[in-house]
Amino acid sequence: MYLNQFLLLAAFLFCVGVYGVLARKNGVLVLMSVELILNAVNVNLVAFGAFHNTVVGQVFALFVIAIAAAEVGVGLAIVLLIYRNKQSIDLSEVDLMKG
Amino acid sequence: MDWFDSWALTLATFLPVVGIVVLAFVPRAQEQLIKTVALVTTIVTAAVGVGILLNFDYGAKGVLQFDPGKKTWIDAIGSNYHVGIDGISLPLLVLSMFISILCVIYSWDHFPEPHNPKAFLMLMLVLEVGMNGTFVAQDLILFFVFFELVLLPMYFMIGVWGGPNRQYASIKFFLFTLFGSALMILGFLALFFKAGNTFDIPTLIEQAGNIPHNTQLWIFGGLFMGFAIKVPMFPFHTWLPDAHTEAPTVGSVILAAVLLKLGTYGFIRIAIPILPEAAITWAPIIGGLAVVGIIYGALGCLAQKDMKRLIAFSSVAHMGFVMLGIATLTDFGINAAVFGMVAHGLITGMLFFCAGSIQERFGTRELARLGGLLVQAPKLGWILGFCAMASLGLPGLAGFWGEFPAILSAYQPAAGLSEPLFRFYMVVASVGTVFAAGYLLWMYQRTAFGTPKEEFAKEHIHDVHGPEWLAWAPMLALIFVLGVYPRFLFGVTDEAVQTVTAAFRAVGGP
């Protein structure tokens, strides 16, 4: 097996995730796309771990998973809050930062 | 005292931090306690300063002392915690501590609106950290951090406690200086990459000679911008009058007494010894701007209606003398510059104190509305006259030793510089002394002589009071003592200055 096959797949997942983050306007879907990105990173970590013959890659992947869980928790809470305030989770309508 | 040798400078720099922490826990309402804590902090810091003065090895003023060696600080960029002082930094460090105490004393009973002594004094202590740190830093990044550290408290001092136009002034001050700093840090980075991946100043002084001449010129240009704005030299001075006019009295005093010195100190400590070749090329330009500043500042003064603004413009002129001394790149000149820095710190600081007190008493600084100060508050009037005389460079008072030797040294600048050009500068600078007499005495005539204007004639103006005496007496005494016996200062700086110019003589000497 080539190292690159994992890396390229991860890159693909990452780009798809980026597309999702940029193009989706439903808050939950954006969060899902973020999960894609995180998983792409995890694949990278584990692949490099295997390549360098060390467990550190896995350890970090585990940390990332833990953080992802936290992120999703907080993220969904925010989405809920937005929904409650605006009766919508359409991110296009969330433009409080408009200059 | 080995312990003291290695810790003195760190203590001197960071003791105010302790004060800040303590202040943070004192409730805002307990003003007396807050003031006491601040005063004690500055006094203890100054006590360390006195310890340094006593333990300073006066037989080796040219070498770095109290240097505990490099301690790794930011390993990734090779920046170390490296402090040390020599004969040039010592007087400035002591000056900075000294002024800090006096400022705390002066503000004892008159904090400017919106009052809040806690925040004010905390900012003042932060300022002291930055000032002391700048004078002891021997590492470019460390220097930079301290150099920038003073910006913030001063910004808030002007922006919060300042006059009516404070927001414009504080922003202008901040942006102008920051702009210079940006170019300066570029210069530092260039030095790092071109001269052996180090930020250590003594090492750089040894190694920077290898940088190609053209590159040196550019790097010096960056440093020049950073320091020249801080000085401030013509034509980068326009932030100064605004900042001074709007700043609270104590802010003006610190600004004039110490902050401006950071720029000139940077020239002497960093730009010139590290890049002597570039310094030679740049010196005529610096000298030219300096004398333009002398005349220009004086003309600016003559057109002023506001007392504080006038004094601010006079700073431009005085720093012109300092820069002229530096531009000659000679022992005489740089000695004069260091002396000029200290003298200007004391004298202009005092002038700002006076202006502040006058404003407090009369509620205005407008020259046209003042008059007859000698009638209503004779002691204040005398003190103002004393400072005006000192400021115009009367022999026997400190200002003279910053002015005359600078003029003297311009007659024979360092080898490699154009003598006719600098002699021309010398004559222009001498004309500047007459101008100085002009605007200062004119100001004095307008404020102190004559009889009080009608609107104030009936008011009771109280003369100099306790905290003012406490804060001023040491400064007045120093102005006089240094004026009569300049050896106190020349004796300390001379050797260190010779090491600075030695790095230079190796390049430009015959």
């Binding site: 991110l91 930062m97 408009k98 | 003309l299 005489f332 000698l374 002009g438 005495l441 004559g450 010779q498």
Partner: protein, 706 residues
């Protein structure tokens, strides 16, 4: 005492500090301190003078053109002085015989004491005293005049608003002059010089409540300070030219040794001359001096007799080597020093005729006399110049104090409106004033005659006939206007108000003492005695080879005649109403037919013009006009122009251009900001898209190009 001469300036300094801090609490409001300490200084100076006179004249200095010793300067030479005997073996070939009958005689060795003041650039700068004949003489004169002025002031200033401060400033003023004359180097000299500038500012503006007075104080300070540009530059040039030293002796010897290039030397001398012109009120910077009369009269006496204005003359005398070599004074051509002196003599004397204020007459007279001194130094008559300084101090001090005494009594300075006929009511003042006037007029055997005569001898002997003529004309005019002054003040009818009375002892005492000196001082250097020139000779003068000339009886007679003629003219005109009156009337009537003659005030001025003789009148008026309009006008114009320039610089350049650029940068940022505002939709995802887009672009660039 010569070694401890530093005590002399120190005493008045202490006095200043004591008066300032404790004066108000003392019963005498501080005058006792001033009198005591300045008196102490006087006693010490007297001891100094005595020691100097009794000092054996056994020092043989190296001659001026001797090569090596000169460069090494005074110190080396003095250390070698114990072996002075060996100098006699020194071949005297360096001294050109052409210089005349002058041969090297032993003189008194100067007493130098120095300490290291500070070091800069590895050069030790020393402070110290240098007591030679010149300094001793001046120390004596200064402390004496100052003491008398102090005593005089205790009564004269008695009810003054700031009695204590007045004495403090008076002491400091004295100290400034003493510091200057005792100093061994130019830097310390500058100290004293500026101290006096400060004190003159304080004292001229003593009654600062009135704007006129503070204006006068400012004018004095500015004018002298303008001259000081020259002093700063000159000292700087000489510091380097003489090999990194401020030492006056070394500077003189180096200048005379010819090792300094002539260009540098001329520049230095010209720069110093500027300072002299400013401080000693020489043409064209003399305008401050009459205005300085705004100060109290004792101050005027001090300024005019012993301090301040004399400082410029002293500077030339002290650094004579520089002037001598820089302007080639010995060669007999017209040089700037003599020229300025000569012009001042005439112009100031003319002005003295048109004044009604007694102090202004005396002020212009001082300017004129200073012109004499400068001219004397310029024509190479060094001894004559400082001898005139010496004698002038006594009688000018006397005249000013006398004027003070008069005004104390009549409360006015206007000779025409406030005085007249005081001869009977103020006999002591009258007689002493008369003695002073006669001395000033140069009537033998009073002091002024001897010194003026010596100047004339010097001018003719050194080949400056034109300055001889100027000197004679000046002598005539001086005698004439002093006659007018004395007549207006003391003769005729009293024209003022109130009842004039003789002044108390504190005022008349000093007058009597000074009158005594005015009579006797001249004999010190009378032919056959010539003690003064022996006492004051110093190494510089010897090295320069200043020529001495024998007393000439013919010249003395001519000089005396001019003085007497002046007095006679004045007497004839004022007292006897002779001569020119009718001439004037006829001329005016014939030529213009005006009835202006009925206008008494106008007539007065016209007569005054006629006294100086026909066409001289318009000249004097023109001079006064030039004085008031052109010179003063240039000063005022310069101020106005610089103010205009300043306003322009400030309001246009600074506020609009430079500041405008800065603000423009801000405005530019704002414009750009509003342009970019369109992009700022507030939608985070769009930002993210831009962010990633930018990252991709940069990353791509990195991949492609690196």
């Amino acid at each position: 005492m010569l070694r401890n001469a530093f005590l002399i300036p120190l005493l008045p300094v202490i006095s200043f500090a004591l008066i300032l801090f404790f004066g108000k609490r003392l019963p005498g409001k501080g005058h006792e301190i001033g009198v005591l300490f300045v008196g102490g200084a006087f006693v010490l100076s007297a001891i100094c003078a005595a020691q100097w006179i009794s000092r054996p004249a056994d020092y043989l200095p190296p001659t001026g053109h001797a090569e090596a010793a000169a460069v090494e300067g005074a110190h080396a030479a003095e250390q070698a002085s114990t072996e002075a005997a060996t100098d006699e073996e020194h071949p005297a070939d360096g001294e050109p015989a052409a210089e005349g009958e002058h041969e090297v005689e032993p003189i008194r060795k100067a007493e130098v004491r120095e300490v290291v003041w500070f070091e800069t650039g590895g050069v030790e700068i020393k402070a110290g005293t240098r007591m030679d004949g010149l300094s001793v003489m001046l120390v004596f004169v200064v402390s004496m005049i100052s003491l008398l002025v102090h005593i005089f002031s205790t009564n004269y200033m008695h009810d003054d608003r700031r009695y204590t401060h007045f004495f403090a400033a008076l002491s400091l003023f004295t100290a400034g002059m003493l510091v200057m004359v005792t100093s061994s180097n130019t830097l310390q000299l500058l100290f004293g010089w500026e101290m006096m500038g400060l004190c003159s500012f304080m004292l001229i503006g003593h009654w600062w409540e009135e704007k006129n007075n503070s204006d006068a104080a400012l004018k004095a300070f500015f004018t002298t300070r303008t001259g000081d540009i020259g002093l700063l530059v000159g000292i700087s040039i000489l510091f380097f030219a003489a090999g990194h030293t401020f030492d006056t002796e070394t500077i003189n010897q180096t200048a005379l040794s010819g090792t300094i290039s002539s260009g540098v030397l001329v520049a230095a001398a010209a720069a110093l001359l500027c300072a002299v012109v400013g401080k000693s009120a020489q043409f064209p910077l003399h305008t401050w001096l009459p205005d300085a009369m705004a100060g109290p009269t004792p101050v005027s006496a001090l300024i005019h007799a012993a301090t301040m204005v004399v400082a410029g003359v002293y500077l030339i005398a002290r650094l004579y080597g520089v002037f001598w070599a820089g302007f080639h004074i010995g060669d007999g051509g017209i040089n700037p020093v003599a020229l300025i002196g000569g012009v001042t003599v005439i112009i100031a004397a003319l002005l003295a005729f048109v004044q009604n204020d007694i102090k202004k007459v005396l002020a212009y007279s001082t300017v004129s006399q200073l012109g004499y001194m400068v001219m004397a130094l310029g024509v190479g008559a060094w001894t004559a110049g400082i001898f005139h300084l010496f004698t002038h101090a006594f009688f000018k001090g006397l005249l000013f104090l006398g004027a003070g005494s008069v005004s104390h009594s009549v409360h006015s300075f206007d000779m025409k409106k406030g005085m007249g006929g005081l001869k009977k009511t103020m006999p002591v003042t009258f007689w002493t004033f008369l003695i002073g006037s006669v001395a000033l007029a140069g009537v033998p055997p009073l002091a002024g005659f001897w010194s003026k005569d010596e100047i004339l001898v010097g001018a003719s002997g050194n080949g400056y006939p034109i300055f001889l003529v100027i000197g004679l004309i000046g002598a005539f005019m001086t005698a004439c206007y002093m006659t007018r002054c004395v007549y207006l003040t003391f003769f005729g009818e009293f024209r003022g108000h109130g009842h004039p009375h003789e002044s108390p002892k504190a005022i008349t005492g000093p007058l009597v003492v000074l009158a005594g000196f005015s009579i006797l001082a001249g004999f010190l250097n009378a032919p056959g005695i010539e003690l003064f020139s022996k006492w004051t000779e110093n190494t510089t003068v010897l090295a320069a080879g200043v020529a001495h000339h024998e007393f000439s009886i013919g010249l003395a007679v001519v000089g005396t005649l001019m003085g007497v003629l002046g007095i006679a003219t004045g007497f004839a005109y004022y007292v006897r109403n002779l001569g020119p009156h009718r001439l004037t009337q006829r001329n005016q009537a014939a030529l213009t037919g005006y009835k202006i003659l009925e206008n008494k005030y106008y007539l007065d001025r016209l007569y005054t013009d006629m006294v100086v003789g026909g066409l001289k009148g318009p000249v004097a008026r023109a001079t006064y006009w030039v004085n008031q309009n052109i010179i003063d006008g240039v000063l005022n114009g310069t101020a106005a122009v610089s103010k205009a320039v300043a306003n322009f610089t400030y309001s246009v350049l600074d506020q609009k251009l430079v500041d405008g650029l800065v603000n423009g940068a801000g405005a530019g940022a704002e414009e750009g900001g509003s342009a970019l505002r369109v992009l700022q939709t507030g939608r985070v995802q769009q930002y993210a898209a831009f962010l990633f887009g930018a990252v991709v672009l940069m990353g791509g660039a990195l991949v492609l190009f690196v």
